[in-house]
Amino acid sequence: MNKQDLSALILDSERLLYATARTILLNDQDCQDAVQETIVKAFTNLRQLKKDRYARTWLVRILINECYDVLRRGQKIISLEASREAQERPSPVPEDYSDLYRAVEDLPEDLRIPVVLYYIDDFSVREIAGMMDISEGAVQKRLARARGKLRVALEGTAGTEALS
């Protein structure tokens, strides 16, 4: 892959990069910082990409690492508004988002990332496992847990059990 191909990939993936960064980071400014650093690193380390077909996965993996770096840089001071999310409470989202998107935003981070990567970004379970450094089984389990939580949130029904 050359620089022009990478440019095209990044420009085509703008929405993917934003949606993914928003699953981890709490505000647009931090998302912008993480994506900007991701672009720089992608161009700098382009030679490390062995196969073009993995480029999108590779790019998102860099982004996820950058998002966590942004978090680490800001860890000395915590936002007490944002920290509610850490305890699986609802977090505020703009009113013009759909109920489904709101429900996804309310998922804990470990469930939200695979949901966004799988259902919005169309990555496979195998690709998500590689990006998040977890097993495919763990991805499947998290997706199943997320579906259960979303079903409860959206339909007000009892928790989804394995036998249903």
Binding site: G74, S91, G137
Partner: protein, 497 residues
């Protein structure tokens, strides 16, 4: 609920974000190495503008806090005190409330409450910690933990905005086995300890401290491995600051919202575990030993080649022991030990907590299945995931009904806890053993590294089960661990003995 609709519901990227992406790509694409270095340097210096902005908030906030602390601590020449209170509710409930008191009279107290009336818009706050317990560090925002034991030793910090009217309502916490008022610096806070739920309840300790001058209640969750002293020291070391940013009331989660949610939710309803119908011959395909099951799986087939039931663990290879040490379940000759089985009824958290409604000792058996996976497609399969769950099911008149082990006296229960540490929930045994070596991919290791087209691989999977469930065992190999009806009928393998 169709999750694939999410694609159409992602918010548009902000204009500034789009412009940044286009600008950065253009810069990167058009640079040589020297230019790139300059660009990166320029970008780094640009990034530093973020940090000073945060530092500036900190400095400004400290000044602002100092200005605000004075009138909030003293009103009309009288000192004001704020605290968290706790009252019992039933045997296991605790009502946590917020109080503001003046040192003289109730009238002044009412006026004092007005001092802390939440402004609109709400000023946002941040908290800086001067003390972090030994061995812990920030694992993620608002989460302290021991990186070597992240599943055990953790503290989660939360801030709850308190708004007008909060002082009259209380937050009900269930399953409380210990509650007390504790001193946190110059304030009174409340410590809560929750009961063991027999199913891995993780955050069993809480600490609440009220900071009305910052319009917040600190809610700290911590695990059993964190001491109360460590939690209190952590809370005492918090410096609160206003960030200089504001938000509207409807965008924050407030103390009164938590209370309203409890009221709206109503009393705790505990679903009774029932022998419900899972499906029927119309939506479940059952395969016998030697049958190739395919179609539902992604370009591969699964065949149960053999099923063996053992009284001992000699067939297992210790190189493949993972979360469960099978030696702990057997005597020194490898014979499986009987297990004490407890039938647990969940409590409502107010008048009752999870309790053992029946116990018995049962013989344990090892179910050892030989499975053949065959690549039926045209391409190599990499990292083929597998996960086997055993279900206890009764087949009756074309229907598949969840089989529940009877408790000794017929009492209803919600789940089964076994003395060997295993839990049987929803009539399901989770996969405990498989003889596939970890090849460095993922963290579970439950995948076949690769299968060429037409190639087969043999995997052995094992479960420790209660002997009396042997006549009811069906195997699901759905990677989710569930009996899945997504994309067609569910597939089960009949292992009944």
């Amino acid at each position: 609920m169709n999750l694939h609709e999410l694609k159409n519901q992602v918010p548009e990227t902000p204009k500034a974000f789009s412009e940044m992406v286009k600008g950065e790509v253009a810069r990167q694409e058009g640079t040589n190495i020297l230019e790139l270095a300059e660009k990166r340097q320029a970008m780094n210096s640009k990034k530093q503008t973020v940090t000073p902005r945060r530092l500036a908030w900190r400095v400004a906030a400290i000044v602002l806090a100092a200005l605000i602390l004075i009138p909030s601590a003293v009103y009309a020449g009288i000192r004001l005190f704020s605290k968290v209170s706790v009252e019992p509710e039933g045997d296991y409930g605790a009502k946590v409330g917020l109080e503001v008191e003046a040192e003289s009279s109730k009238e002044v107290t009412e006026e004092a409450e007005a001092v802390y009336e939440l402004p609109d818009p709400i000023p946002l706050v941040s908290a800086e910690l001067a003390f972090i317990p030994e061995g812990m560090e920030w694992l993620k925002p608002a989460h302290l933990g021991d990186p070597d034991h992240p599943d055990h030793r953790q503290i989660a910090l939360g801030g709850i905005v308190y708004d007008q009217g909060d002082l009259e309502d209380t937050l009900l916490i269930r399953d409380v086995v210990d509650r007390k008022v504790v001193t946190v610096g110059d304030r009174e806070g409340v410590y809560i300890r929750l009961a063991d739920s027999y199913r891995g309840n993780y955050w069993r300790q809480r600490l609440y401290v009220f900071y009305p001058e910052y319009y917040h209640v600190l809610e700290m969750f911590f695990t059993d491995e964190v001491t109360l002293d460590e939690a209190i020291q952590t809370a005492e070391g918090i410096t609160w600051t206003f960030t200089g940013e504001e938000t509207s009331r409807d965008k924050v989660w407030a103390w009164s919202d938590m209370i309203a949610e409890q009221v709206n939710r109503g009393p705790e309803v505990i679903p009774v575990l029932e022998a419900s119908v899972i499906g029927s011959t119309s939506n479940i395909q059952v395969f016998s030993m030697g049958d190739d099951a395919s179609g539902k799986y992604d370009s591969y087939a699964i065949c149960v080649e053999d099923v063996q039931i053992y009284d001992d663990i000699s067939v297992l290879d210790e190189d493949y022991f993972r979360d469960l040490n099978f030696y702990d379940l057997a005597d020194e000759d490898g014979n499986l030990l009987p297990a004490d089985v407890s039938f647990i009824l969940k409590g409502d958290g107010i008048n009752s907590i999870d309790t053992v409604v029946g116990s018995k000792t049962q013989s344990e058996k090892l179910v050892y299945v030989t499975l053949k996976f065959t690549n039926t497609g045209d391409e190599t399969l990499d990292h083929l995931l597998f996960y086997g769950s055993l279900y206890t099911i009764e087949e009756k008149d074309g229907k598949y009904i969840r089989y529940l082990q009877p408790s000794p006296d017929g009492s209803s229960y919600n789940f089964i806890s076994r003395s060997n540490g295993l839990v049987t929930d929803n009539a399901q045994y989770k996969m405990q053993y498989f003889d596939v070596a970890y090849d460095g991919y993922g963290d579970g290791g439950n995948h076949i590294s690769y299968l060429e087209p037409g190639e087969s691989a043999i995997v052995h999977i094992g479960w420790i089960v209660d002997e009396e469930t042997l006549p009811y065992l069906f195997l699901s190999m759905d990677p989710s661990g569930a009996i899945s009806f997504d994309q067609g009928p569910a597939i089960l393998f009949d292992l009944r003995q």
